[in-house]
């Protein structure tokens, strides 16, 4: 292990380390600009210059490139080093007078004024080449490089023209220490349309995610994108997360897998989908980035969101007037006739947040205020007291004016007049609806759905979590709109029902189930699709088999069977005929 002396301190370096790495490991600070631990060193900014004394000879060398050889003596702050760094900072400051990182270095080294009058005062690029190396070494796109020579040197794509090589990953903007690179997305409308922006390629899906581990969004990840763009030629792009992950937990080869489990009971808690307000054009959703849904507002006001929890317009300014429109898609025969139940209360909460965080005027357009739960009415009163304008009457139309401002028109039913309010943000309390694939889930589990599209419970009053399929229970909004407390209560009930079954270990079923007389069964399969409980399948012998645990003895299959091979136990044809004969005999 090489041992060197850095600023009088004995430092043991790892084999192959540079002086900079050895010094930093020992807690000794050396300034750098063009160095990045993940990129090949280049030694071009020269700010990490240190005095190296080797075999009695003193020279100035860059710490980022100089090998930490045994027996070296390094002085990181000797007078000649300081003087050199001062001149370099003075030269850089003359090039880029307005770059904070250079100004900070200047303050540290007592260079507060540029050494020479700056030629281009808004120049930001110090030509450190971090962007070029990132694009080459990590992204492997080679979209930018240096061009020209000497004092004309600059960074850019070939011929400084837009290039297809650039995949718009933005990695160069992240490594740039001076903020000299702007990224202009060609399809920027995708991001501009909503103020919520894209998330990082690696993120935890939600703060409540279980298990709470990050996932890689392969549509955004540089490695996966490069592999896709190059048709599989470039498979080793980036990988920075893998290099940095100390737990060695990143595996790019991981794929989604199908897991097969034997289970006793099932709780269907598939939740809901947000209804898309763009389908009703009067709300102008999608026409302005400042018209957002209630869920998007939740993301905006979340501390983990794109603005860090600040409620801002798309242009980054605070809103001054906000309209919240209730019943968007709910209680509306053009969309959903039912009440989504959660909107009134979250709209009140959001009004409270807007008042609290921005002080903006808030207009609540509502038809009826359904503050039904415990403490809800009190909260409603409190929000009223906070100076929120309550407009009883449905917000009928949102207009995006030519200057980009928003105008909400609606009826004030209490006053019997039509009103119109100019605002700069509109929150649409849009409806919740059943999941788009609810029909597939229903047929899989033999569930029925009520008129509103949500799964039907076995009995609306007496069996609110059970379904007609034994062992399958419903929890939460999958069954119908619910707010959080109701969902928790409903889910608790479903869980306890499921547990009581599991605890028993066996299921008592009604003896009246159908049975297949295999002698007569031709294996035509007509019974399978008609079974509402998916209890019938074809067995190995090619004949129908009935799962007695699922069968409810409804007899549909018996009626459908062309060869009379299915008989409901205790209600066989013979028994029924016998009963009829008995009755008539008397």
């Amino acid at each position: 292990m090489p041992t060197l002396i850095i600023d009088g301190q004995e430092v043991h370096a790892q084999e192959g380390q540079t002086v900079l790495e050895a010094a930093r490991d020992a807690g000794i600070d050396i300034p750098t600009l063009c160095y990045h631990p993940l990129l090949e060193t280049q030694g071009s900014c020269r700010i990490c210059t240190v005095e190296v004394i080797r075999r009695g000879r003193s020279t100035l060398q860059t710490a980022c490139t100089y090998p930490a050889w045994d027996g070296l003596e390094i002085r990181t702050h000797s007078p000649s080093v300081i003087k050199t760094r001062q001149t370099i900072i003075g030269l850089l400051l003359s090039r880029c007078p307005d770059v904070p990182i250079i100004q900070d270095l200047g303050r540290e080294y007592g260079v507060t004024e540029p050494l020479f009058p700056p030629e281009k005062p808004d120049e930001k690029c110090i030509l450190c080449g971090l962007c070029v190396r990132t694009c080459h070494e990590l992204v492997k796109a080679d979209a930018i490089n240096f061009s020209q020579r000497g004092i004309e040197r600059r960074v850019g794509p070939p011929f400084l023209e837009t290039t297809d090589q650039c995949i718009g990953c933005g990695a160069c903007t992240i490594v740039c220490p001076t903020g000299a690179i702007d990224i202009v997305l060609e399809q920027s409308a995708v991001y501009d349309a909503k103020p919520l922006g894209p998330t990082s390629a690696i993120h935890v899906p939600s703060l409540q995610a279980v298990p709470r581990v990050p996932v890689i969004d392969t549509d955004a990840c540089i490695r996966f994108r490069q592999a896709a763009l190059s048709n599989g030629e470039i498979t080793d792009a980036c990988g920075v997360c893998q290099t940095l992950c100390e737990a060695n937990a990143i595996d790019f080869t991981q794929q989604d897998t199908m897991v097969e489990l034997d289970i006793g009971t099932i709780v269907v808690a598939t939740g809901f989908a947000m209804w898309d307000p763009a389908s009703l054009s009067q709300y102008a959703y999608g026409q302005s980035p400042n018209i957002i849904t209630g869920l998007e507002f939740e993301r905006l006001s979340n501390a983990g969101g794109p603005t860090g929890g600040e409620i801002l317009l798309a242009n980054g300014e605070k809103p001054k007037r906000v309209a919240i429109i209730h019943c968007v898609g709910s209680r509306d025969h053009n969309a959903h006739p039912y009440c989504s139940r959660i909107c009134c209360m979250y709209a009140l909460k959001q009004a409270h947040l807007v008042r609290d965080k921005t002080g903006a005027d808030v207009y609540q357009f509502y038809m009826d205020m359904r503050a039904f739960g415990k403490g809800y009415e009190e909260f409603y009163e409190r929000v009223q007291g906070e100076g929120v304008f309550m407009v009883r009457g449905k917000g009928a139309e949102v207009e995006v004016r030519p200057n980009g401002e928003l105008r909400v028109k609606g009826e004030n039913a209490n006053l019997g007049i039509v009103i119109s309010v100019d605002v700069d943000m509109v929150v649409l309390a849009s409806a919740i609806e059943s999941q788009p694939d609810a029909d597939r889930v229903a047929s899989l589990f033999g569930l029925s759905r009520s008129e509103d599209g949500f799964f039907a419970e076995a009995h609306p009053k007496l069996r609110p979590v059970e379904t007609n399929t034994e062992g399958v229970f419903l929890a939460g909004v999958a069954q119908g709109p619910k707010d959080v407390p109701d969902t928790v209560a409903h889910a608790g009930a479903a869980a306890s029902m499921a547990l009581s079954l599991l605890d028993k270990g066996e299921v008592t079923i009604s003896p009246t189930v159908s049975t297949v007389l295999t002698r007569f069964c031709t294996g035509c399969g007509k019974c399978i699709p008609v079974c509402p409980y998916t209890a019938i399948s074809l067995g190995e012998d090619g004949k129908s088999v009935i799962n007695a645990a699922l069968c409810k003895g409804c007899g549909t299959c018996a009626a459908a069977c062309p060869s009379d091979a299915i008989q409901p136990l205790h209600f066989t044809d013979d028994q029924l005929v016998g009963q009829i004969v008995g009755v008539l005999y008397e």
Binding site: Y66, R149, G150, R153
Partner: protein, 594 residues
Amino acid sequence: MAEDSRRSIIVSCIHDRAPQLMPALQAEIDRRGLAANVDLVDAGCRGLCSVGPVVLIQPENIFYASVGVEDIPELVDKTLVGAGIVERLSYHPPESHEAVCFYRDTPFYSKQLRHVMRDCGIIDPWSIDDYIAAGGYRALGTVLTRMTPEEVIGEVKKSGLRGRGGAGFSTGSKWEHTRHADGEPKYVIANGDEGDPGAFMNRSLMEGDPHSILEGMAIGAYAIGAHDGYIYVRDEYPLAVRNLAHAIEQAVEYGLLGEEILGTDFSFDLHIVRGAGAFVCGESSALMQSVEGKVGEPRPKHFHATERGLWDLPTALNNVETWANIPMIINHGADWFASFGTEGSTGTKTFCLAGSIKNSGLVEVPLGTTLREIIFDIGGGIPDGREFKAVQTGGPSGGCIPASLVDLPVDYDSLSEAGSMMGSGGLIVMNDRTCMVDLARYFLDFLKEESCGKCTPCREGIRRMLQILTDITEGRATMADLDKLETVAETVQVASLCGLGKSAPNPVLSTLRYFRDEYEAHIVDHKCPAGACKALIEYHIIAENCTGCGVCRRRCPQNAISGERKEPHVIDPTLCIKCGICRDVCKFDAVDVR
């Protein structure tokens, strides 16, 4: 002279009149029926550029200068058919007006020691037979059949040969380190990327005697254990590229390169890499980057190229002139070689004499020869009766040596002590009309485009030094700027990434060292003592000297001069653009600069 004796007529130069010379001579020789007895040789450069094209007739060594097509019939008639000399075409040294008829009597040549350039301008570079006839490839044969690699290295070390590219590292030691370094394969490279303004020694060598480089490289490759070599030539030297490529082809054909050379088990392949003409590619690490196919930018080199060079493998990189010295050392022995030059700098060195000098051209002298001998004895001194002021050695990376040090011996150590460097051998001579600030500005102006721009001190430092120097030459600078200039120069010198940057301030620092008063005159008095910086000078006519001849009036492009015939003229300073034509044309020294 007997009629039947065989003659050679050797034409040198690629002077702009030279291309017509060869066919005209051939036609004349044919017409006179002399073809059977006369060899016409299209040879490389012979160095005396100021009187090119030159023609040498052997075996008598009759030397003709500034030969034109119209001179050919007389030349053939008198010298080839008859036995006389066309005195009109003989060389007339600038200092005397007597004709010098024979090559060996020419002062320009008689005071030189042409070892490296021994065959340049004598043999046909297109013919390997010419080279072999002149003793070529004998050294390679000796080495491959009678010497071990260690013996070769020992001999080169003993000779004291130091790198002719400028840094002056011991060639033998370099080879030894490369041979003993870990890593296979090993490489040899010849640096032919001569880029300094006013330097053309390497070019003349590559064009005029390419085989000497090939032979040296083959010997070096044998010594260090390499089987591949590269010659890096800038593409602005198309003739050098062509001649080297042809030489390689011929050598391969003759079994002197390629597989199993001369029937031994040593194989060596040579490749030409054409550089795109970046000055920085003469720097070793940038050159190797370029050979590797990367952008020609220097890389940090904490490991010597002998350990990690081309593709990070052990590499012996030498200047083409260094390689061309090798065959001589083998043929004549290390002691013979070391008997020339000084103790620390053995052998001879080629220099390009340019600038304000009578015999501009290519010279070769033993190291340790004084500047006075080179400039005055060989170069013939300063033309037009001007005074010798300084000489820039080593191109833009070198420094300026003042007239007071004219007796300085030219060797590696003396030059560095004087704040300059050997460089590849450019000598730009300046007279009293050269402004030293303007000179430094000129070199930085060159470097601002030739710096690769990779590292901050070099890129930003050169830009700012140039800015200050421009300010000084235009009368805008203050004494504080002079301090700033020194501060920046010192930082660029110590903190730059490569040799180009580290030596870039040399023109500034050396002129500051020897001509500080000139800088101060610009700043404090707003005067340019040499009368070169236009913003600070004014032309006027000294009435006592002016004869009223009117030459200046007629030549003035701005009509700024007026005066009656035979009366003193005057210059209107508001019209004058300070082009200096009046001063150049005045025969009576009547035009003065203030």
